[in-house]
Symmetry: D2
Subunit: 127 residues, 4 copies
């Protein structure tokens, strides 16, 4: 499963070095996950209303080149592994033909009280 989105870099996302501040990539990845859900026919706001809260277990990112204001980011998101407990995503971020970053994350699922629960079926279709 794979989904691609495009995001224009916003001016306030750049820092004093004139490039996108690295912490923002994790915000882009979150947008990419939400959009991937949407492409699968699901709405994360609805999931939360139903008591399904996705939480980030771990994230990481390698930065290859700087991205700047004026750049359009193309983010390719892929589900690398999905179990009833966790979903692993991989993110490849490009500006034009250059890769600027590669990230990954593991998300888990909790209920309204913060207890770990099984991924809803819609999110872990393979099992």
């Amino acid at each position: 499963m794979q989904n691609t989105i495009e995001l224009d870099v916003r001016y306030y996302e750049t820092d004093g070095q004139g490039v996108v501040h690295h912490a923002n990539y994790f915000k882009y990845f979150e947008v990419a996950r939400v959009e991937m859900l949407k492409a699968m026919g699901h709405d994360y706001a609805d999931l939360e209303r139903d008591g399904v809260f996705l939480v980030v277990h771990s994230v990481g990112c390698k930065f290859m080149r700087p991205a700047r204001f004026g750049d359009t980011l193309r983010i390719v998101t892929e589900v690398v592994k999905a179990t009833m407990a966790r979903i692993e995503h991989r993110y490849d971020v490009f500006v034009g033909s250059y890769q600027v970053a590669q990230g990954q994350s593991v998300i888990a699922c909790i209920d309204r009280d913060g207890n770990i629960r099984r991924m809803p079926e819609c999110l872990a279709p393979e099992e």
Copy 2:
């Protein structure tokens, strides 16, 4: 009532022009309000646990000079007016002897369901 805090500019708060992005001043003002509460012996986290939620009705800011990474901001917060319905604050932000910004805000108080409620007495002591 007046309270002064000092905050070091954080690197990620600067933008592509190498100065603090203007939206961050409203975050500084929020920190200043929380610290002012604390100086008055109150803890905003406790207030929320008691069902008292402060919401911003309006804010504004005039920017006189840029602030940069490496600068320490001195923020003087003053309660300009406090009624059972609203509290007005004024914020004067300095770097050294120069004023860099002047802001103001009006906050109101809602309950857990989002309905407007009277300010708790601890926050509106004059009436």
Copy 3:
């Protein structure tokens, strides 16, 4: 002159009250200004490369209703006044048929050294 954009609320833009944090509206307004420029055929990244830096002189916002994750914001931006020294914008933000916020800003123009300069003609067409 008027321009309308739509922005989906991003999850990380919400705060502990489950609504869009008020400081983010000033980031939305910045995106709205950049998109308005684009609609006029100009690219802010190019302007900066040409030594034209737009800086915020003052901003303000009144918040009428909360916006939440899952909401799409419709931001109507209007140039209220444009002189060689300053441009005033007004922003009306809607979710569906409800207005959630109304903001305004005054921007000025500086050169690479931080000195005030005349607005480039492309931005102040009336004079």
Copy 4:
């Protein structure tokens, strides 16, 4: 080499789940690096003025427990490895006696033109 700082969670750093949004940890780590430099007698603003720009090559973080508004984060930063090309840090984040997150980063050094350069001696004292 190790340095410990304390940071109060700021309200705007929490998200719709009422906990610190995960992307903010990378901002905390940046503050921790700057403070570690300061504890070593160096000022990152001065380094940039001298043409030494530190850039993040990669970062990662594992999240063990949520942190909330009202919590004070204790961040223990350690230099795991320092060469002329890169410095690796490890960050352990605690609230009271509980660990909430563990992160790591690799930073490199570039000059004003964006070219990789040797770490300044003050930052890579072992070699």
